[in-house]
Symmetry: C2
Subunit: 489 residues, 2 copies
Amino acid sequence: METIQIRLTEEQIEVLQSLVSSGIYPSKSEAVRDAVRKYIRAYETGIQENIETAQKQVETEIVKVIEEERKEYQKVKGTIDFYPEEKAMRDLLFSSLRNTAKKFNFKEIETPAFETLELLTAKSGEEIKAQIFTLEKRSTEQLGLRFDFTVPAARMFVQKQKELPKPVKWFVIDKAWRYEAPQKGRLREFYQFSCELLGSDKPEADAEVIRMAIELYKSMGLTEKDFYVRLNNRKLLVSLLSNIPQEKINSVLRVVDKVEKLSEKEFSDELKQLSLNEKQIKNIQNITLLKGKPSEIIQKISLESEATKTAVDEMTKIIDGLDGYEDFITLDLSLVRGQDYYTGTVFEFFDREEKYRAIGGGGRYDNLIELFKGEPCPATGFGIGLVPTMLLLEEKGLMPKLELRPDYYVAYFPNVKKEALELVKKLRKNNIVETDLMQRKFGKQMEYANSIKAKKLIVIGENEVKERNIKIKDMNTGIETEKKWNEVQ
Amino acid sequence: METIQIRLTEEQIEVLQSLVSSGIYPSKSEAVRDAVRKYIRAYETGIQENIETAQKQVETEIVKVIEEERKEYQKVKGTIDFYPEEKAMRDLLFSSLRNTAKKFNFKEIETPAFETLELLTAKSGEEIKAQIFTLEKRSTEQLGLRFDFTVPAARMFVQKQKELPKPVKWFVIDKAWRYEAPQKGRLREFYQFSCELLGSDKPEADAEVIRMAIELYKSMGLTEKDFYVRLNNRKLLVSLLSNIPQEKINSVLRVVDKVEKLSEKEFSDELKQLSLNEKQIKNIQNITLLKGKPSEIIQKISLESEATKTAVDEMTKIIDGLDGYEDFITLDLSLVRGQDYYTGTVFEFFDREEKYRAIGGGGRYDNLIELFKGEPCPATGFGIGLVPTMLLLEEKGLMPKLELRPDYYVAYFPNVKKEALELVKKLRKNNIVETDLMQRKFGKQMEYANSIKAKKLIVIGENEVKERNIKIKDMNTGIETEKKWNEVQ
């Protein structure tokens, strides 16, 4: 033990004294001793930083409260409100996507909004990890909002892998969330169409998903004049890089991935930085020039190695499976699409004018299911970003237009309310029907019926009730027709 | 200034000395003084609790890492995976709810999954606040997942309040999230049907939403034998408590709210604790006995005060508007439904056997829009808990049953793949069609077609291609019919 003397301000002494008075410590020096103990513990656990930031937090808090008092409630940045018309138009679009996917015998599933962070980060790159909306911890589990559907679908697949007949064909249309800087075509809350074809390692499966993707875009009204797909096979690309040392392949792929964004000089400079020689660089440059009609490009590929032959054979089978879709397809040997995720076929969809980044894309990922603790299982699939796709549709005038109009407005006088409601109930079996819920005078009811663009108007008064006869006025043409009360439906 | 002497252990002195040696403090006593300063600051900002829990957190962390290594990826507790059949059945149910709501001229909207915590907590009670799934802070905004739809719908309404013709009739069917202990009929991620009728203070509006709620349950196949609605008006109840001092009304309502859960003795004991006299308690007990057929109960209410007369008049108008739905309705003067939220009409839906808590409920909330910084605006609405409702449907054998079967399976021999795919493409215009994606031998293709229960089978071989003639086999009856290739559709 050692004794230390310290001098404290009167304010400090006052606080310590209050702790003693309230019975927390037997003496002021015991309070100081405890302070030292806690300080040391805090020092050791790194918590003292908290103490230092605590004051700042309090200040920020005060600023925030003042700001909050001023502003109105707003939706969160990067999210969308769907008001009735927008919701109805979007649902119309989604239902045509659903119908198309179902024709291909893909089946819709639905996954929880959040998953364990452990699952979400198991195979994700650093960029995506940083974009996950994580939940504040409530129990031992750390949770995050899904950022795509491949991850939760893989989990669901693994849980029933044994009992499901293969291939499994699943799709989802739902929201996912990523913390990104919101911009045109990119939101923090966004809709995706996503599908997975699990259990087939054959090119027929890749062709099936590409066929479906094209049909999905077509079902929204887009044609080969509006969009196209860039197609490649990573195995084919790698087979053509046989004069590049194995350990440099991934670095080269990363540079090739950027070829569209770099000038010719920048591109060769980046390759030089990988210590490649002139011949190797020339080889890579020639490969990236291979893009165009599949049949023509395939002829240009020299079948020097077995690996190239196999990859070309696989590609040819996919192209065969895309018979009738030639106008949509560009074979593009420079397409890499991400770094480590895909194992073979890769493809991306673009609008012809390339106003947007990819509006969709996918490929084969044969290692993923194993990564998620399932039995090894080949897989292929794709996703469509519905936010940029809808912008494209908008631009092309292809967004479905519709007005939400009730079929009938039933106006009534107060003394026949009971009978009017009877009629409303009957009409609602088959029609969208509005009536007065505001005790509006008759004239106001008519005004309201007009303002909501009711298609037909029925007026119920004493005469109508007595004679069991109803006049139906077509609000577009102004023409009135009469019907017996019990004939109305 | 005051001087204090303290004694410290050698270990403590050692740490302090190391701080001095590393130049952080000029002397040990200065280190102690800083410890005291920080301690006091921490004490004042409540941060010392963090210090104490820090060690525990580290321990928990270690336990978690060990646990995580062991277990497989699981979905999060209290969430549901929807596999294709379950998803399709549920969507069938939801689409009948949507159709019914649309007949009433309610329009579907959609809200973001998360909102600012400021909005979510603006009018919520403590219980709900504690159940909000909050997101880890990424910017200055604090966000949480929506726990209902009234809050985000109110925000959306306020943002367009001026331009929207009244009444506004909106509904939502979507997920919401609450951190609760998962149990039968209650999940952390759950589906709700929710609707709001904004802009009418008239009983006609209350009657409209109750009519719709009943029709929604009916559209799922439930009848008056399966469920009923308890109806009350808080103004009516309060008007009958005229002999209770104003300041005790809320406390009394809280006790009345629990009448179903308490014995008669417990009930009167709780009222005694509010210092009510015998007569007052007897009065309250008599009121809670008022439950049954609306017409009969209304007759039993003594119209002593103007307030009671007005409230009974309002109730009578609602009952009038529910003409034809009498068998579903119990007037129950003990129904309070929460504490501060509702301003008039309240109602709750129960299964007749009362196996579940309320399967739905709602009421009038005339102050809410103003609370959310809108112009004052009357409102009424309700929510249906779809998780308990689906359990009830299951129990009654009313959950829609369906099998997802493709219309066609097209089996083919490798040499006519091109022609087979042509046919598949054509058939997919109107049908759900599956074909081989696995390069399966012919026999295996037939097995697979059987395993997925394809309704019809088409086999494409050389003959079929040559003769442009196709045999279609009905897999239920075994009957084969022939068709010309170009007649198939």
